[in-house]
């Protein structure tokens, strides 16, 4: 049963909203079906757009003839890449894509032309009437091959280094010396097949161009500010003539964190036709648009002392980037930079190379760039624990980095609840009592991780605040909160309302959050890298505290008491030492407006710039505060079918301070679920034998877990408040995913004694591994893993 959701004012308590359970500010409207998502918007005279896509993985465009399409009744306009050829990229250093292909198509699904027509059926018919002539080129699907053929078969025409999209080599400490000293060196090769976001809402955008030149774009985006900038650049119109609005959004997970072709196309088609234009991706287009988790091949060497201390970690990673850079520059850094926590190590080196291939471009998915290396890192630790005869939880404890510490790559860690996370999952799973007793086929596995609460440096270099919030209070006692932050379902608007409620004393229902409209709200960088709670929360807290001070002083003046005695709570202002002295909150606001004029305040937040290393790349991965997570997974492996059944996942996450408990739990459960799906089911792949088409671009063929597949998820909130977060809060949206996959891999080993070093852990792979183990046992090179049920 839920806790009481109505906040009970308690003067003895230091907070009246923080840490409670809340009804979200907009959930009921979503559930009633009245809140309008992007595709629910219709404008008078609206046209429907469609994008013609390449059937080839790699080809040169010889010609595009749209005359037949343009002659069709109901067709208003056709645009091609030549209409807006300015290259752009979400990372300003790697502008290597265009709104539609100009000279070359780089993957099956690359956009080549877009049409606006009176209705969707006409638009689809018009696409078929556009004649595109191609010179087909040899596609490359393998990143190693792409790197080898950089000169002979370059893929992306805007690339600076052939098919090498990005290379990073960083070394901390004496790797070779530490490896030489090690009592145990574990070497492993891991392959993480790519996965995609599969938000249930497909991408959608709608644009309107007004006669005065103002262009408005409504889009299912999680980064309205960056979209605003890129639209301005590619369309060639000044930013002040562009307005980007993010309507309520149906899930993103990183899949809507950069501009897509449809946003440029609706804007351009609206400008040409003078009519509103909408494009909604089909589900198939969503799969090809992708920008999901990168496939990575990771070769790891980890050296340990005989008592389990990590001496050295040496990682070589090949990253399959697909056709465009997307966030790839950052991904390549993240594939190594976030691995030096939560553990102490003597030396660390990583060498990562990201290659272009003729596939849908990869990008950021929940836990950007660091979920794959976390899989390798944590399985390596498990292999060492087995080899050294040390309990895997104990081995992790021995390497704990601790609070107020510095990682080997010079990131400064503040609060750190990792040890408590380990203890919580250990206790909840009854690890000590049950693990040794589980029979063959059943097992428990553990893994740990860390993640950032936003990045200290924004995507484009500037010294302005990363987040800003404006709050107005009116005479009816309500507050309006203006924030550029994108609520993508994670509840960020509710988080802001909780902070305003806590400080100003009105309940959440009296607070209206107006979010993500570039005409109305201050700039915010968007919903990525788990930045919103810490950054936007801090900005909101600053504004709310300023307002609170004004209101409390005005009340104090009239009651002739110190302002510190005035409490704003539950629609009232009262005297802490004489609670009978009280007035409605509206009266307090009236007094403050008499004294100060219109009640409004702004708050802004900028990141600390002194918490990273002084080396090239040392700022990437630096965050104001780090979250910590531990998982224990319980599995049952059927040795006859190879089917892995995950029964339970216990996830303990140090979020600093849970501002709204149930929302934090939801993020933890959603993260554990998503990692579980990646571990066992999901594969985002194109088929080289079939011209690079996706193997299953549908929600049936790309298997995501259903109600029946998903294990029991147990969320255990750990709170190690960090001085840099609002009320101590850190992130909770991405960190809890990281240990999912290695915890399951390690549990499979515990259950049946096989190492699953390639994802996903599908029945054929498990069966092959079991057969290899059985052969080794028969040959006497491996002992029997553990007793069967009843043979103990």
């Amino acid at each position: 049963m839920p806790d009481d959701v109505k906040p009970v004012p308690q003067l003895a308590s230091t907070t009246w909203q923080i840490g409670r359970v809340h009804r979200k500010v907009d959930a009921m409207e979503r559930m009633r079906g009245v809140l309008r998502y992007t595709d629910d918007l219709t404008l008078p005279g609206m046209l429907h757009g469609k994008i013609k896509r390449s059937p080839h993985a790699h080809a040169r465009i010889i010609s595009i003839d749209a005359s037949r399409a343009l002659a069709m009744p109901g067709v208003f306009a056709v645009v091609t890449g030549k209409d807006f050829p300015t290259p752009y990229g979400i990372i300003p250093w790697t502008p290597d894509e265009t709104a539609l292909a100009v000279d070359k198509v780089l993957y099956v699904g690359d956009g080549v032309a877009a049409v606006a027509a009176i209705d969707e059926d006409t638009a689809i018919a018009a696409l078929a009437a556009i004649d595109v002539q191609y010179e087909v080129l040899t596609p490359i699907y393998d990143p190693e091959q792409a790197l080898a053929e950089s000169d002979s078969n370059p893929i992306n025409p805007y690339a600076k280094h052939g098919n090498l999209s990005k290379e990073v080599l960083l070394e901390f400490g004496d790797i070779d010396g530490q490896i030489a000293k090690a009592d145990l060196v574990i070497e492993g090769e891991y392959f993480f097949e790519g996965t995609t976001h599969a938000a249930i809402e497909p991408h959608c955008a709608l644009a309107q161009a007004e006669p005065n030149g103002l262009v408005t774009v409504w889009s299912a985006t999680q980064v309205s500010h960056y979209l605003h900038r890129e639209l301005s650049k590619v369309l060639g119109i000044p930013a002040h003539q562009l307005r980007v609005i993010q309507p309520p959004l149906g899930g993103a997970f990183g899949g809507k964190s950069e501009p897509f072709d449809l946003e440029f196309c609706v804007a351009k088609l609206a400008m040409i036709t003078g009519r509103p234009v909408k494009i909604l991706y089909t589900r198939e287009e969503v799969f090809y648009a992708h920008r999901g988790r990168h496939p990575m091949r990771m070769r790891y060497r980890t050296g340990f002392t005989k008592d389990g201390k990590i001496l050295a970690m040496d990682a070589k990673t090949t990253i399959d980037g697909g056709a465009y850079s997307s966030f790839g520059l950052v991904t390549t850094f993240y594939s190594g930079q976030l691995a030096c926590s939560p553990y102490v190590m003597g030396a660390y080196r990583f060498h990562s190379r990201r290659a272009y291939t003729n596939k849908p471009a990869c990008g950021p998915k929940r836990g950007h760039g660091s979920v794959q290396p976390r899989f390798a890192t944590e399985v390596q630790l498990d292999k060492a624990a087995v080899a050294l005869g040390i309990d895997p939880i104990e081995l992790r404890r021995r390497n704990d980095l601790g609070a107020d510490s510095e990682t080997l790559n010079a990131f400064k860690i503040g609060s750190n609840g990792f040890l408590e996370c380990l203890s919580r999952v250990e206790a909840a799973s009854e690890w000590r009592e049950r693990r040794a007793a589980l029979p063959f086929g059943r097992g428990l596995g553990v893994a740990g991780s860390t993640y950032i609460s936003g990045t200290n440096y924004p995507i484009y270099p500037n010294a302005m605040p990363q987040a800003a919030v404006q709050i107005c209070v009116d005479r009816s006692g309500r507050a309006r909160v203006f924030s550029g932050a994108n609520d993508i379902g994670q509840g960020s608007s509710t988080m802001l309302a909780v902070i305003v409620s806590e400080e100003l004393g009105m309940p959440l229902v009296d607070i209206r959050v107006l979010a993500a409209d570039t005409d109305l709200t201050p700039v915010d960088l968007g919903a990525y890298s788990s930045r919103i709670t810490l950054m936007v929360g801090n900005a909101c807290l600053e504004a709310a505290k300023k307002l609170r001070k004004k209101v409390c002083e005005s009340v104090a003046k009239r009651w002739e008491i110190p302002a510190s005695r005035v409490v704003l709570i539950d629609r009232q202002a009262l005297d802490r030492e004489n609670p009978e002295q009280r007035v409605p909150l509206t009266q307090a606001f009236w007094w403050a407006e008499e004294d100060h004029g219109l009640l409004g305040e702004i708050g802004s937040y900028n990141t600390p710039k002194d918490r990273h290393g002084e080396y090239r790349g040392g700022t990437i991965g630096a965050s104001p505060a780090y979250s910590f997570t531990a998982h224990v997974a319980e599995v049952e492996v059927d040795p006859e079918t190879g089917v892995v059944l995950v029964k339970h996942i216990w996830v303990a996450h140090d979020c600093g301070r849970a501002l709204s408990r149930r929302i934090v739990e939801g993020q933890m459960e959603g993260s554990a679920y998503m990692g579980f799906g990646e571990a066992l089911m999901e594969q985002h792949i194109v088929d080289p034998k079939h011209w690079g088409v996706h193997t299953g671009p549908s929600l049936l063929d790309y298997r995501i877990p259903t109600f029946l597949d998903t294990p029991a998820l147990h969320s255990l909130i750990v709170e190690a408040p960090d001085d840099r977060g609002p009320y101590g809060a850190k992130e909770g949206g991405e960190g809890p995913l990281h240990p999912s996959i290695p915890a399951i891999a390690n549990a499979i080993y515990d259950a049946v004694g096989v190492r699953m070093d390639e994802l996903p852990f599908s029945p054929p792979r498990v069966l092959r591994a079991l057969a290899a183990r059985a052969a080794a046992e028969a040959a006497g090179t491996l002992p029997k893993h553990k007793p069967e049920e009843g043979h103990r």
């Binding site: 559930m31 009245v34 938000a199 109600f707």
Partner: protein, 167 residues
């Protein structure tokens, strides 16, 4: 699209309101609900019967409106999420439970899930179990929640409804 497609007049009842509308023969119920009747609560996640976001009830049974031709529901009773709240004067116990449990994150799959869950609770003779909820909702995908809070909310709502019935 072209002159050969002829719309037919179709009478259907949506959320207890009768409509007589011109429908092209290839239009799905989902298209008619969303784009002709402006009932946008039913969502399109895949348009091919994979995700369940478009689930409505036809004569009380959950059905995928993206796979149902609009002409096929002539004369039948369709209930969408917009009709659910009317059952209990504004807010259905399921919606209240979903709100308290934070069972809707982005909310895009929620209308479909609510209609599948309502049919389960209406048929149930007692408060539902975890397994019953998982089986009844197996055709509805959610990508945000990991399903845990949804299951909690449906069980909680069924307890509330049976407690109310016992009074």
């Amino acid at each position: 699209m072209n002159g050969t497609v002829r719309a037919a007049l179709v009478r259907l009842t949506v959320n207890d309101r009768e409509h007589a509308i011109a429908v092209e023969p290839h239009r799905t119920l989902l298209e008619v609900l969303r784009y002709q009747l402006d009932l946008i609560g039913s969502k399109q996640g895949c348009d091919k019967g994979d995700c369940g976001a478009c689930t409505v009830q036809i004569d009380g049974t959950p059905q995928l409106s993206c796979l149902t031709l609009a002409t096929a529901v002539a004369g039948r009773r369709v209930t969408t999420v917009e009709g659910l709240g009317q059952c209990a004067g504004g807010c259905h116990p399921l919606q209240d439970a979903f709100d308290r449990h934070d069972a809707a994150q982005c909310g895009f799959c929620t209308p479909g899930i609510l209609l599948s869950a309502e049919a389960l609770l209406r048929r149930a003779a007692r408060p539902v179990t975890d397994t019953e909820v998982r089986e009844a909702l197996a055709g509805n995908l959610c990508r945000c929640t990991g399903y845990t809070k949804i299951i909690d909310a449906v069980i909680d709502a069924s307890r509330t409804m049976f407690a109310g019935a016992a009074e």
